[in-house]
Symmetry: C2
Amino acid sequence: MARVFESDSGSGCSNVLSLDLIRESLIRQEDTIVFSLIERAKFPLNSPAFEESRCLDSGSFSSLTEFFVRETEIIQAKVGRYEYPEENPFFLENIPHSVFPTHKYPSALHPKALSVNINKQIWDIYFKELLPLFVKPGDDGNYPSTAASDLACLQALSRRIHYGKFVAEVKFRDAPQDYEPAIRAQDREALMKLLTFEKVEEMVKKRVQKKAETFGQEVKFNSGYGDESKKKYKVDPLLASRIYGEWLIPLTKLVEVEYLLRRLD
Amino acid sequence: MARVFESDSGSGCSNVLSLDLIRESLIRQEDTIVFSLIERAKFPLNSPAFEESRCLDSGSFSSLTEFFVRETEIIQAKVGRYEYPEENPFFLENIPHSVFPTHKYPSALHPKALSVNINKQIWDIYFKELLPLFVKPGDDGNYPSTAASDLACLQALSRRIHYGKFVAEVKFRDAPQDYEPAIRAQDREALMKLLTFEKVEEMVKKRVQKKAETFGQEVKFNSGYGDESKKKYKVDPLLASRIYGEWLIPLTKLVEVEYLLRRLD
């Protein structure tokens, strides 16, 4: 996936943030998010996987899913995942360094604002509000695969939402004079208004619905795609669009606001 | 995802293996495999990720990807992944037990034949033959996300290939008299002939091609799906079909043969 910034050749300091690459990445992330929702919908809710239970080894209390995400994040950190500003951990307070040489990318983001991380909120919203909407109720006991699928969804949603930092940075660079007054006044509402483009948001929601229709349909060998009205989808396309409209877009703008509030620190 | 066997209620011993559920699962796994190929194709080959390099901590030599898969398998084992006969580890010789209570599913597979695991072969084929075919050459340095994407592909391919154990078991149960002579004679060729249905294989290849066309297309907000001939796909649909025809189907039948050779042990 293309990096969203082009670093100055050699100087290692990036001053070119590409709005086109950001837009391209956000659109491509829609496919990843729709795929991950479809894959998670293979399993029922399986709530015991993310409800607290006793770990047989340590005796400590955590859910299987939390244990799985927490431990996997350590491995992902050890191969350098969190050295990328697009990636934000759910649990790691102090991120282990990578045990393999990694590419040092100049960060296009403001150092103070880089630390914006709303994953705690994303975690709660995902398990309490989103999951019950798009998966069927029930428990098939397959918690290991469910947890792996939840991790894929959580990381795809988190990446899209925290991309708001790049969006905010490029908007600020394009017109600092528009944002500085609201930042100095720490005026969240004013910032939210500056960051809201309803036409664009409607277009994103419609495109996501179309992607959920396209990627979530039953593809048969010899039939066409069949009568639209009787189609069965793996995830309800209207719901995928709603997840974007009522959660992902607002949470992305929340990250943009949090980023901008710190931009002049 | 539905379990492929229905256990006798209460008796804990399964004697009902459902061919319909197996077929349904194999078809649904096509979507998962096509999605995982599409997601991996976001990144270039990034071969340094899976070439041997020195681990900074331990000084040992392993590739970043191998380290990542090996360590992730330990976490997955600890949440019970490998207590499911559909899942086969790439590296774990001795699988750590689960640290959370897990559902004990009666195994529908023959104990001796359960151990068939050709993941070493799958690993080599994936990195040496398949990957260079469906991803673009180059190196963007994003090895952590590449390794996570390779893990998703490897596990999806491995699950489909090792599903051959269930296919073999249900074919054997349906007509033991057809298979017993070849098994007793340990006649691989005879078994391979018994297991080959070219019409079905052609149908699978065509369906996979159609799925790669459907799931890999660019979905735009306001346009239809555009002129078929000028379409751009994230993974070449003919290639996806070829991966099934030249690798996945033959490797699945190899697992079926290996399974049946041990079936009467």
